[in-house]
Amino acid sequence: MHVSVAAETLFKIGSFPITNSLLTTIIVTLLLILLAVVVNKNVSKIPSRLQSMMEIMIGALLGLTEDVAGKEFGRKIFPLLATFFIFIIFANWSGLIPGVGSIGFYETKEEAVVLEETNSVYAETHSNTEASDSESDILVTETAESHDSESEIFKPLFRGPTADLNTTLALALISVFMIQFYGFKTLGLKYLKKFFNFRNPINGFIGILELLSEFSRIISFAFRLFGNIFAGEVLLTVIAYLIPFIAPLPFIGLEIFVGFIQALVFMMLSLVFISMATISEH
C-alpha cells in the first residue's frame, strides 16, 4: 500500500513539473469546458435533458447566492461561486472514479529521486549537494516504508485534484483574494478601517486579529478541502486493501456525499465571507 500526501510528478516540461493531480485537473477542466460548450450550443427555450439539469443546478446555486448576498450583488459574484462549486464537486468526484489512483506505473527509485529532487530544487532552490543528499535520504526512507523495500515505487497516473494541496491552496488564495477585492470594491478605503484602526487600543488589537484571520482563512480553506478529500481517498485505499469486495461500497457513497458537502461548504463560506466583507461596520 502506497499513500503519498504529495502529488507525484509524472514528467517534466522544461523545469515545469506535471503532477498526476495537475493532469487530472486539466482533464476535469477540459470536460467541464466541453460540457459548457455543448450546453451553450444546444441552448433553447425548450430545454433538453442536459440543459434541464444545468438549469436546476444553476438555478439552485443562484437562489442560494441571491439569498445571502442580495439580488444585485448576488448576480455579480455568482459566476465565481458557481465555478467554485462546479469545479470542486467534479474534482472531488473525479478522485472516486475507478482507476484514478489505481492505474499507474512503477518507477525505479533512482528515477523517482531524480524527479523529486529537481522538484524540490525548483521549489526552494537549494544548490548545495548536502541539501539534496539529505532530501534523497528522506525520500529513500519514505519509499522504503511505503513500498515493501522494493527497488520500484508505484506512481498513479491520475489523482483527485483536490487531494493535492496545490489545488486547494490555489482555490483558497483565489477565494481570499476575491473577498478582499469585493471588500475594496464596495467599501473603498473604508474597508481598510477594519484592519487598521488606531482610535483606541482595543480596536487596534481587533484589527490585528482581523488581519490574522484573513490569512488564517487561506489555511483553513485549503486544509479543510484537502483534508476531507485526501482522508477520504486514504480511507477508500485502506478499506479496499483490507476487504476488496463490497465493503468499500458504503464508503464510496459516503465519499460522494463528502465531495458534494465540501464543494458546498467552500462555496458557502466564500459567499458568506464576501458578503460580510461588503458590509460596513458602522
Binding site: 513539473p17 477542466t29 459548457a36 427555450k45 444553476i58 459566476p79 465555478t83 522538484n119 521549489a123 494541496l165
Partner: protein, 166 residues
Amino acid sequence: MEKLGIQPILIIAQIVNFVILLLLLKKFLFKPILKVLDERKKKAEETEELNNEAGKKFLEATESEKNTISEAKKQADKIITQSKIQAQKEKEELLKKGQKELEIVRKKLESEIEADKKEMFKEIKRQSAEMAVLIAEKVMQESFDENKQKSLLNQAIKDLEKVSLH
C-alpha cells in the same frame, strides 16, 4: 513544504487553470442558462398576468351577457304586454264601431219599417173608406132616398174619421 508537495509553480498553474475555467464557464454556461431562466421567469409572469386578465374579461363578458339577456327579456315582456293592450284596445274599438254601425243600421231599418207601416195603414184606411163608401152606396141605392142617403153617408164618413188607427 516538500512533504506536503506544495510548489508555487503548481499553485500558479492551478490558479491560471481556475481563472480560465471561470471565464469559459461564465461565457458558455452561466450566461446562456441564466438568460434562458430569466426569460422563462419573465414569460411565466406574463402568462400569469394574461391568465388573470382573461379570467377577468371572461367574468365581465358573462356578466354583460347576463345583463343583455335580462334586458332582452324585459323588453320582450314589455312588447308583449304592450301588444296585448293594443290588441285589447283595438278589439274594443272594433266592437264599439260595429255596435255603432249596427245601431245606425237598426235605426234606419226601424224608421223605414215605421214609414212603411204608416204608408200601409194610410193605404188601408183609404181603401177601406172607399170600400165602405161603395158598400154604403150599394146599400143606399136599394133602401133610401137620395137625402137620407146623403146624411147617412156623411155620418158614416164622420165616424170613420173618428176611428183612430193603430
